[in-house]
Symmetry: C2
Subunit: 449 residues, 2 copies
C-alpha cells in the first residue's frame, strides 16, 4: 500500500479529508491532489454568512490552506491544476496547469475523484450578465462579495427558495437590501412538505422578503454595460442590481463519465458502500458521488458537507487498505432564516407518498422552552412514520431558537429503527430554559400515536 | 372500570397527569385528588427562575389550577387536604381538611400515591432559622421570594452545589447578591464526573460565586430576631442574610410505608414497570416512586419532572384498565449556570466504575458552532462506552449556548443500544450557525474510537 501512488482530483472537503486520512495511515505514501481553483478545504456553507458580513474574511472559511497541507502533511496539493482526462487503462490523468497553460500526464495507482458539484445554471438569455451569481466554489462567493462592495446594489433578486436561496435572502437583508425571492414551485424549500414550507414563507414575508411562488425565470435583462438591470419572469419584470441563482447543484461527473466511470442517481458517480466506482482502483467521494439512503434503501444524491466528510473518511480508510463502509444518509439538513430555524431528516410526507409507503404523518405546535420562560418561541414539528410498524421515517422542524438541532434526536431514532412509541418513551433532557417537560419532538410523537 | 372510584394522593405532575389520563379514558369515573398544599400541577423546576425575577408571577408556574381541573375535567381536587393514613384492607384513606381541621375517611377502589419528594434537611442547630429555605413545593418558592422582597438580603449562602444549588446561585446572582456555594464533596454536580464538574466550578468562580468545596455545614447562627446571621462550616463562618439548602431530596414515602407498601431504592416506593406497588390496587408515581434504569438494568430513584410525567401516563393507562409499561430512565438531566449549559445522560465514569463495568471514556473540546461563526462558544463532551461491545453507556456535556440539548442525541443512541461507531456514522444536522461539520458529540465518538 505504502508504495501505491494516490492521485486525488479536487481539493475540498472530500478530497482533502481522504488525503489526510490516507496520510495518517501511510506516512510515506505519495499523495498528489489537483485542484483547479485557488482554495482547499473551505466551508462553502459559510459563504452566505461571509456575504452577510458576519464572517470577517473569506480566509476564515478556509479550514486548511494548500501550503499547510504541503508542509504539515506532506500532501502535494497543486492548486490551479485542472484534470482534463482520466485514462483508467494506463492509469494516468491529463492535467492542465492553469497558471502556466502547460499540460502533462500524471500516473496513479489509486485515483480518487472528488470533483464536487456546480450550481445549476439555466440556459436563458442574459444569465451571463455581470452581477448574476451562483454560489458554488469559494471563489464564486468572493467574487459576489467583492462585486457588492464595489457596486453597492440595493435591489436583489434570488431565483430559487431552497437552502442557498433562503440563506442568501437572510444575508442580503442583513446588508440592508431589498430582497425578492422567486421560485417556480408552489412552496419554498422543496425538501420540506408544503405545510412546513408555508410557515417559512410566512416568516420570510413578515421579515420583508418579496416572495413570488409559481413563477418562472424567463430571462435577465442587461444594461448598456452588460450588467443585470432586471429579471423577467413569466409573470412580471423585477428590477435588480444583483441576482443570485439558487437553483440547485449538479455533480461534476462529466470527467468521470468520459473515462467510462458509471453514473447513477441524478448523474452522480455511482459508488458502492466502499466508495469504489465501476472502474477498478478509481474511487469517488463528496458532492460528485452518490450515497446510500438509509430510509429509502436505495442510492440517492445528497450533496452536503456532512456527507462529504463521511465519504472522505470511508474512502480514505479503504484506499489505505482498510475496510470501511459508508453508513448511509438520512438527508438530514438544517438552515435558518433570521430567527427561524429549519431542519429535516429522513422522508418527507411527499417522499413517502412517492415511494408508495403506507405512512401516517402529523404536525404539532409547541413552545421551544417552558411556556413561562423568557425567550420561549413557537416551533412546529412534523413526523412521518410507517403505518403498520410505527417505525419513524422522517421529521421536519420549523421554529425559533433552539428548535432546529432537535432534528438530531429524530435522526438518531430513525437510524436506530425506533418506533414512534419509543420516541415518546425516550428519556430526553428537560429544564425550563431548554424545553417543555415533554420535548416538542415527543409531543409530536405522542400526538401521532 | 368506569365504576371504580379512584383516589389520588398528591396533586402535582404525577397525580394530576394520571388523573387527566384516566379522565380521558373514562369520562364518568369518580376521581378524587387530595393535595395537602395550595397548588396543583406546578412547575417546581421553574422556581429558581421565578426567584431570579425572570418569571413574572408564581401563577405562571401553575400549569392548571384546582378550579380548572374541577370545571373542565370533572376531577374532584381538594387542596389543603392531607392524607394521614392508608388502610389497604378496607380500601380507605383517612384525610384531614387542613382548613377546617376536620378528619374523615374516603373509600377507594384504586389508589394512586403521588406524594412527591421533600428537600433533605440536615439535623443541625439553627436550620430552622428564619431566612433558611429549602425549595420543594411551590409554596416554599413563594415564601422564599416574598422573604427576599421584604428583607432585601445581600449575602446568600447556598449549601449544596447540585442542580438546585447551581440554579439558585444563578438566580441570586441575577438579584445582585453576593453568593457563596458550599459543598461537602470535592466537586459540584455529583451526577457528573469530576473533570466535567471542574469546568462548571471554573465558570461559577469566574462569574463571581464564592465556591467552597470539601466543606461541611455545622450549624446556622441566628440573630436576636431568630433570623439567619451566619453559616458555620467545619472550616469557617460565613455571614448570610439568606440561606438556601440544596442537599437533595427524599421521597415522601412514609405514609405508604406505614400502610405496608414496600419501599425500594433510597426509600422510594417500590413499583414494577406497570407502576403497581406491592399492595393490590395501590399504585405509585412521580418523585415518591422508583424507576427502572435502562443502562444499570436495576431500579433507581430519579425524582425529575420528565420521569413524573411518564409515570403519570403509564399509571393512568393501567388504572384505566389498559396495558402500559414504564420504558425506563437514563437519568437524563440538564441545567445551566448563566451562559454555561450542563447536561448528562446514562452512566458517568464514576457510576460505570461502581458497577464494575469494563468501560472506556474520553473527553473532548469542540466549538459549539462552526469555528468562524459569530457566537460560537466552547463546549466539552464526555462519553462513556462499554469496552468490549463499544455500546454507548453515558454522556456528559458542559458548554456554551446550544451545547446542552445535544445530550438528547446521546440519550437516543443509548436508548437504542447503539455503539460509538454508530454515533460517528449518524447523519446529524450541520450548518455553520448550528454546529461544526462533525457535531461535537460525533467528534467525541470519533476520538473515543
Amino acid at each position: 500500500m505504502e508504495s501505491r501512488k494516490l492521485v486525488i482530483i479536487g481539493g475540498d472537503a472530500a478530497g482533502m479529508g481522504a488525503a489526510s486520512k490516507v496520510r495518517r495511515e501511510h506516512p510515506e505514501r505519495e499523495i498528489v491532489v489537483f485542484e483547479r481553483g485557488n482554495h482547499t478545504s473551505y466551508a462553502a456553507c459559510g459563504m452566505p454568512y461571509y456575504i452577510a458580513g458576519q464572517v470577517e474574511s473569506s480566509e476564515e472559511l478556509v479550514a486548511r490552506s494548500p501550503g499547510v497541507f504541503r508542509e504539515k502533511q506532506n500532501i502535494d496539493v497543486r492548486i490551479r491544476h485542472e484534470v482534463l482526462d482520466i485514462d483508467p487503462g494506463s492509469k494516468r490523468v491529463k492535467v492542465r496547469n492553469l497558471s502556466k497553460g502547460e499540460e502533462f500526464w500524471e500516473d496513479w495507482d489509486d485515483l480518487l475523484i472528488a470533483t464536487g458539484a456546480s450550481a445549476i445554471l439555466p440556459d436563458l438569455p442574459g444569465v451571463d450578465a455581470a452581477g448574476v451569481f451562483a454560489l458554488s466554489t469559494l471563489q464564486t462567493g468572493i467574487d459576489a462579495f467583492e462585486d457588492m462592495q464595489t457596486h453597492k446594489p440595493s435591489k436583489a433578486v434570488i431565483i430559487g427558495g431552497g437552502y442557498i436561496g433562503i440563506e442568501m435572502a437572510e444575508a442580503l437583508l442583513a446588508r440592508g437590501m431589498e430582497v425578492t425571492v422567486v421560485d417556480m414551485a408552489d412552496q419554498v424549500m422543496s425538501t420540506m412538505d408544503k405545510d412546513m414550507a408555508d410557515r417559512i414563507a410566512e416568516v420570510m414575508e413578515k421579515d420583508g422578503i418579496h416572495l413570488y411562488l409559481k413563477e418562472k425565470l424567463r430571462q435577465v435583462d442587461k444594461d448598456t454595460q452588460g450588467r443585470v438591470a432586471s429579471v423577467v419572469t413569466d409573470k412580471q419584470t423585477l428590477k435588480a442590481d444583483v441576482v443570485f441563482l439558487g437553483m440547485g447543484v449538479k455533480p461534476n461527473s462529466g470527467l468521470a463519465a468520459r473515462a467510462g466511470v458509471k453514473l447513477g442517481v441524478r448523474d452522480a458517480i455511482r459508488v458502492n458502500k466502499s466508495l469504489q466506482t465501476s472502474v477498478p482502483h478509481v474511487w469517488a467521494a463528496g458532492d460528485c458521488a452518490e450515497s446510500y439512503h438509509l430510509v429509502k434503501s436505495e442510492q440517492a444524491y445528497v450533496p452536503l458537507g456532512t456527507v462529504a466528510n463521511k465519504h472522505a473518511l470511508v474512502a480514505g480508510i479503504n484506499i489505505s487498505g482498510g475496510q470501511a463502509r459508508f453508513p448511509g444518509v438520512l438527508g438530514t439538513a438544517i438552515t435558518k432564516f433570521n430567527q427561524l430555524e429549519i431542519a429535516r431528516t429522513g422522508l418527507s410526507e411527499k417522499e413517502a407518498e412517492e415511494l408508495g409507503i403506507n405512512f401516517i404523518a402529523n404536525t404539532i405546535d409547541s413552545p421551544t422552552l417552558s411556556g413561562y420562560f423568557p425567550g420561549t418561541g413557537k416551533m412546529t414539528v412534523k413526523l412521518v412514520a410507517h403505518k403498520d410498524t410505527g417505525r419513524l421515517l422522517g421529521g421536519q422542524i420549523v421554529g425559533m431558537q433552539t428548535a432546529g438541532k432537535r432534528i438530531d434526536t429524530i435522526a438518531a431514532a430513525i437510524t436506530a429503527g425506533l418506533t414512534v412509541q419509543q420516541l415518546v418513551d425516550m428519556d430526553l433532557a428537560y429544564a425550563p430554559p431548554f424545553s417543555p417537560v415533554w420535548d416538542p419532538v415527543q409531543t409530536a410523537a405522542r400526538t401521532l400515536l
